[in-house]
Symmetry: C2
Subunit: 313 residues, 2 copies
Amino acid sequence: MPVTPFRNVAILGLGLIGGSLFHRLGTVATGYDADPKTRAAAGRVADTVAEAVTGADLAVLAVPLPAMAEVLDAVRAAGYTGLLTDVTSVKAAPRRLAAEHCPGATWVGGHPMAGREQSGFAAADATLFDGCAWVLALEHDTDLDAWLRLASLVTSIGARVVPASADEHDAAVARISHAPHVLASALAARAGTDRMALTLGAGSFRDGTRVAATRPELTAAMCGGNANAVRDELDALIDQLTEARRRLDDPAALADWFRAGHDVRSQWPPTPGEPRQVPASRDALLTLGRAGGWITAVSPDGATLTAHPPSDF
Amino acid sequence: MPVTPFRNVAILGLGLIGGSLFHRLGTVATGYDADPKTRAAAGRVADTVAEAVTGADLAVLAVPLPAMAEVLDAVRAAGYTGLLTDVTSVKAAPRRLAAEHCPGATWVGGHPMAGREQSGFAAADATLFDGCAWVLALEHDTDLDAWLRLASLVTSIGARVVPASADEHDAAVARISHAPHVLASALAARAGTDRMALTLGAGSFRDGTRVAATRPELTAAMCGGNANAVRDELDALIDQLTEARRRLDDPAALADWFRAGHDVRSQWPPTPGEPRQVPASRDALLTLGRAGGWITAVSPDGATLTAHPPSDF
């Protein structure tokens, strides 16, 4: 079945991510934001959620997780039954919320791995998604045609689509984003007990704590929305630190411990292999994502996708 | 007593730090390195430790901690009894080694907080110390005149001298350098178990793991040389992570936990207050260092120093 492009995309929430998508999609997009000042700044907007989703063939929930239930209720009340996606940093919790609060729409969860220190519509930037990884959640019950339409849109604006189940996504982001935020904050808090330490802080402190400056409410919502995966990851990290601690008096054993992280980091980011065509099958896509690969294009007939598997795939 | 400048500085070890000091000091410096290729590259060098320290009024041990005992033995065997300092990232262990292996020299431990991803003489750079914090260890039994002479030299090349006892220094660097290296490596090793995570890694992963790419033997020597302080710091961090883990299901309590690190990091680096003159007294200097201050000049008569206390000192 051909992948038809979207003609009318409702973007609900015009913060950094929603605003950037609004700029990138141009006249195809209708925006909405709860804040009248943001609506006035954006211009091409609806005054209510209902007005925004009426006639839309895609609705993007670009609000933080704590606001999602309320917006989903408004989308349902407006009678919207089309394709619905989101951009939050967890994927299991929004999936449950969508099933509960807006069961008539077709849900495909999403997460662009794009962030900035600044937030809000003023920081929005049409180039934010250039080359960024954008997870589209693919479950056993996801509508594959809807997923392919969304993948086509996301790749058309220059992002790399990573297929993943919600649980795989949530475990991965606990590892590479949520736990790093917790560790950065713990390091900063400890240094704050010692003024000499703050004066001696140099490169490893600067970089290791950078994201600790994020607004605490945002970090708490992000980590709390992925509590199970973050708990598992913190347990594993505490085990690792306990092991390093045990080896402190044995230089060779300690160097062996450091080698694992060294080997990973010195080969990061991963090198993509040659692009190849893969069939639009759930299993092929999930296998690609698990191996660290991504998609950069969907064929017009929706039958094949251009995949960039890792070089040793 | 006037602070006399050094006329002949022996630099033992011409890696990144020793080599940079060698370039910065110019013709006052005589270099030595165990590697003949490095000696050939440096030019103005001695062929042995004994030749380098003969006639020197300052000897700088610029070798890693594991090599220090052997070089101290060579310095002692050469009959050197002048001022002796080092540049390693811990201060208690070198102090013990100097007392044991070279008791006839006058020991003042040092640590410039200057690093680069590259190491070795080829990476040496005369501007490496511009504005960098350089701890000079000050104990109850340190020769204060020797400390002031060294402080005069270090400030004259543009570094900021932080007075600290060896134990205060070691606790501080465990907090802002050694523990961050351990955490970076743990994060990288965990992400290495999940290829999708490596593909999704973005800013927080990149910065939070940057120093995990350091050579494992270097990191192990650094952390192992400060085992007691690093153990205490890892214990405190494990307690912090355990507390964050406990709060994952309570957004408000979790945001409170993140606030401590947020408040520290968003006010870092510390703002210096107005410069003021402080007397050359052990207590005044240690009080300044504990408060997060530093020294940028020593008066020619050695009686007062230009201090930059924190703004609320």
